[in-house]
Symmetry: C2
Subunit: 255 residues, 2 copies
């Protein structure tokens, strides 16, 4: 937890309006008071071992980043005086289409993708996605959000990714994808191709990543019909959790 993430409900009534997270016309942001009781309190108490007067990095979910000063430490809560003064790092100019990974990998993959700056993620079906994966309790909205929070806390970011589930490949690719990917560079990671993954592009991109074992030829064809170009990562076959950081860090410069 490199960042304590706060939500509007953590703040004392009146100290933060969820509509206007920061008074925009004051040169110095006004301090706001947050009270934490959950795992964040435990982390601050047990890992930071923070005492009154200590400060730590905090951020408002979908808002700015700044400092939190401990102004009170109780048995089961901690009170922070919060000052937010800088923007989170920019997200990637990317829409990621990811064949739903097996449940064991799903959590890690969501965390990694979030930590790497993915802001739009479609978990999609593919022939080699086992049907049972769609029954995973980890696909519930609150569970996905938990993994995103872990990724944001890790990467010192506040902007929550938006995750969509699409359980049918064909209608998604035929009906929804053309509009979704319009005007973007369209790439599908596919080992069997001659084009290497491009590097440090500046463009808005839509990237499709298949399941373990890859997209089947029919799926690659459907994506190609939708304007996607196949790119490879070299002769090594990588797990999705390794391929994803490799793809994203080759495509986009560390800003």
């Amino acid at each position: 937890m490199n960042l304590i993430l706060l939500s509007p409900t953590d703040f004392a009534p009146g100290s933060l309006s969820s509509n206007s997270p920061l008074p925009s016309n004051t040169p110095e942001p006004a301090p706001i008071i947050a009270r934490l009781e959950d795992r964040r309190f435990q982390h601050i108490a047990e890992v930071h071992r923070a005492q009154v007067g200590d400060t730590m990095k905090v951020g408002l979910i979908n808002g700015d980043i700044g400092d939190g000063e401990v102004i009170e430490r109780g048995e089961r809560h901690i009170t922070l005086k919060v000052s937010l003064h800088r923007s989170p790092p920019p997200g990637l100019p990317l829409t990621l289409l990811l064949a739903l990974p097996r449940p064991k990998m799903l959590k890690r993959t969501i965390q990694h993708a979030t930590a790497l700056g993915v802001k739009k993620l479609y978990l999609i079906n593919a022939y080699r996605v086992e049907k049972s994966y769609w029954q995973s309790p980890w696909l519930a909205e609150d569970k996905l959000r938990e993994q995103c929070l872990l990724g944001l806390e890790q990467a010192v970011d506040t902007a929550m990714p938006q995750i969509e589930l699409r359980k049918r490949f064909k209608p998604f690719v035929e009906d929804e994808l053309p509009e979704l990917a319009r005007d973007s560079l369209k790439l599908v990671a596919h080992p069997v191709t001659t084009s290497a993954c491009p590097i440090d592009i500046q463009q808005q991109t839509t990237l499709a990543v298949g399941p373990e074992g890859g997209f089947i030829p029919y799926e690659v064809e459907k994506l190609q019909e939708a304007g996607f170009e196949s790119v490879h990562l070299g002769p090594r076959i990588l797990r999705v959790e390794t391929a994803l950081p490799v793809l994203l860090s080759r495509l986009f410069p560390a800003s």
Copy 2:
């Protein structure tokens, strides 16, 4: 398991000499017979569901890659006719110095590093490496080898990485590292610096990666004294298991 990895002991006596894994003076490699009984047999039987006549990708540890044809399938063993005819993908021109990760992460990190093509890995101590990590049973030679095998099987590679453990930071950096890193590009991944990680270099490289929380300033200084330049990956703080694929895929082109 994208590759069935064979060792000399799998082969029928006389079919393969461990000193000369391939007859070098014949244009067509002679077929060799391997008998498998362990988890590889189970994988071939249960995942491939291979029958007599089926072929699959096989490789000889530290040797070539080719095909294995099932010529016999028993209740508890399988016999392959093996023909090896191409080299494994090249390894990275890299010596990786990695602060020992926590045991939970160690296994995955070894697998990922191996899959990405790391061939020389030093697991080193650092201030933020907890002493207890050095007690992990996963540091035993056979356990490390197991994780390497998993990484090679994943990436369709045969060349076993060489892993060394160095439990004392200062003597390692002062006495051993200068010779080890001689004539290589020397980099240390460190968030607090102005130089971004270089991209697609062709040079032999020595890369130091710190523990969770990073190297402490003293350690960065010692590395700088040894000629290491600090490079960062952008504003996001990444877990070692994410940072490693990011670093390696930016430094080296997918060959």
